[in-house]
């Protein structure tokens, strides 16, 4: 072998691994045990599917993922995040379903100059004044769905709406977000016990108030209880039901006929027609045998977002360059279109969805865009300009 060829092959080998030592480490925290595992496990599945689709290398670099189970507890999440940042020295902490858990780790992670990526939680507390240049949310700001519903119901000329939510912070926020864009009259505003089982008394009071529509935020089992009892009281045919975060891929199988004809809002849907989404939904169905819910879609998007930004920045060592690449928000997303607001929260479309029963299956179908390129209400309080 001549010296020239030898030299060339060495040069080529070096070009293939420009910085041989560079590696990406991501800590992915979600809820894998307990009842809420039904949200966290699909997220982990979708995250793994995303990695599979990009060949297991984020931005073409050697990739190590460390999974953590937060058990839905803020203190556990904080311990996990601290360990990932200090001991494992990760470049990104991602995942996080619950707003209270995100708030617990937001300070420690961003102060340590590690990027924090929320794949679901979007509390207002970190969207306004306390926004951070090291925190990105690739999911949604919590108020976006109720705002979308308020906008839609106003545009349909629906007046005199009865609103109901559990008596805790998120419940209050969901009503506040709704009222921000709903211009009609409120027929009644009721806060129920968290985890309530029987809603018959509330339903009687609701009927007596004679509203023209009902708006609820009752996530998980509460939604199943309410929607079933609402239908049994014969109200679903008389007073149309609109909901946020209540009728979804996880609760619909337990509601079935009772939920058919109710409306919801979402920033993503399995039937959105774009290449990335088709690849994701088909791949997910094939690998896990189920239609993914939006939690899973966001976890998949987290992979696409990291992969694209790292590739564009040419690695993870230059944090300023990486941040600029992340801010561009031009990754191939299951949502079709996506942009970051100045507070690093998404600007995205909000869709109306209707629960339907067709061909023996119950699912939600996209009925159109309610708000296009919608940004959250807190971005204006965030001091970041870029």
């Amino acid at each position: 072998m001549s010296k020239r060829i030898l030299g060339l092959s060495i040069a080529l080998a070096m070009a293939a691994t420009p910085v041989a030592a560079e590696k990406v480490k991501v800590g992915f925290i979600t809820t894998l045990s307990g009842g809420a595992g039904i949200i966290g496990k699909p997220m982990k599945n979708a995250f793994e599917l995303g990695l599979e689709h990009i060949g297991g290398r984020l931005g073409g670099l050697d990739t190590e993922i460390i999974y953590g189970d937060d058990k839905r507890k803020p203190d556990v999440a904080k311990q996990l995040a601290n360990k990932m940042v200090k001991k494992d020295r990760v470049d990104f902490v991602a995942g996080i379903i619950w707003s209270n858990l995100l708030l617990a780790i937001h300070g420690p992670v961003t102060r340590s100059k590690t990027f924090l990526i929320s794949s679901n939680a979007g509390p207002s507390a970190v969207a306004g004044k306390k926004c951070s240049e090291d925190f990105f949310n690739v999911a949604f700001q919590n108020d976006m769905m109720p705002e979308g519903m308020g906008k839609y119901m106003t545009s349909k000329g629906i007046d005199n709406v009865y609103v109901m939510a559990p008596n805790y912070q998120a419940g209050k926020d969901m009503i506040k977000g709704f009222k921000r864009m709903f211009k009609g009259k409120i027929a009644g505003e009721v806060y129920t016990k968290l985890g309530q089982k029987d809603y018959q008394a509330e339903i009687s009071a609701l009927r007596a108030a004679k509203p023209s529509a009902t708006y609820i935020f009752l996530p998980g089992g509460m939604g199943i209880n309410f929607v079933k009892q609402y239908a049994q009281a014969g109200l679903s045919k008389q007073i149309p039901l609109y909901s946020v975060y209540s009728v979804d891929a996880l609760t619909l199988p337990a509601m079935k006929e009772a939920a058919v004809g109710t409306y919801g809002v979402q920033h993503w849907s399995p039937d959105l027609n774009n290449t990335v989404n088709r690849r994701f939904v088909d791949g997910y169905k094939k690998k896990y045998g189920k239609t993914p819910a939006f939690y899973a879609a966001q976890a998949y998007d987290t992979v696409m977002f990291l992969d694209h930004a790292i590739r564009k920045a040419g690695g993870v060592s230059d944090r300023a360059k990486l941040r600029a690449a992340m801010r561009a928000g031009d990754f191939p997303t299951v949502r079709g279109t996506f942009k970051f607001n100045n507070n690093h929260f998404p600007i995205q479309n909000i869709y109306l969805r209707e629960a339907v029963h067709e061909g023996g299956e119950y699912f939600t179908r996209t009925k159109g865009v309610i708000l296009s390129a919608h940004g959250d209400a807190y971005a204006k309080d965030c001091g970041m300009k870029w």
Binding site: K197, E202, S204, I224, K228, Q232, P253, A254, E257
Partner: protein
Amino acid sequence: MDPLLLLEQTFNGFQFGIMLFLIAAGLTLVFGIMDMVNLAHGSLVMVGAYLATTFIEWTGSFIGGLALAIPATFAIGVLVEIVALRTLYRRNHLDQVLATFGLILFFNEIVRIVWGPISLYSGLPDYLSGQVEFIPGAPYPVYRLIIIAVGLAVAAGIYLIVAKTRLGMLIRAGASNNEMVGALGINIKSLFTFVFALGAVFAGLAGMMLGPLTSVEPGMGEPWLIQAFVVIIIGGIGSIRGAFIAAILIGMVDTLGRVLLPEFLRVFVAEAAADTAGPALASMLIYILMAAILVVRPQGLFPARNG
């Protein structure tokens, strides 16, 4: 408030009370007669709901499903008593609390393994999903009337068994002095097994009735358990009559409190404050009531062991 709505809400409270009675009946029998604190009673509610949901799907018939689920819950009650509880009667209450808490974890996990973590669908046949309008302007779900009928039938049934039959006599005798009953040649062990399984059936029946109303999911029985304990403490431990009256009382207070308190508070404080404090205060009402009753009658309204 409109008097007709108030009437309807009172009726809602009554129906809620009947549901509570179904759950509390078994709890008070076991606590009163066997002196056994059974925290896993809520798990039996869950097991009943899951079994009924599964059997209804298998048989394709609501009645058929319940007809299978009731003996199955009885069998599970017998099994739990023989395997787990029998060794606990002579232990103190703290040991019993610990062991039956373990049973809660066991049942929740086994349900998760067998049926999965996602809520099951449990619906109603068409002939039960209608409404009747016996209060003008307020069509009431037929199914909830059936719950009331079942609850009243169970109450009457228990009363007849305990007061009028030989079995009931043995139960009462076993409660006041079980060693003496054993010395007289009665098999007290199998009597206790039977009583526990009977309690399991009542809890299971409550779960079966709840299935079509609420989400059938792991841990669905626990929120009811706390209220059931309040019922038996107010009613007097071991007293079926006490459990019935206390359940209706709790049902009324909880329901009317939930509905009226926020409106009542709005008269005095700002709307936003009333919206927050109202529901919070309403959910405390039954515990405040319990505390008040315990101050006046520490033994409960209908003292145990002779009710």
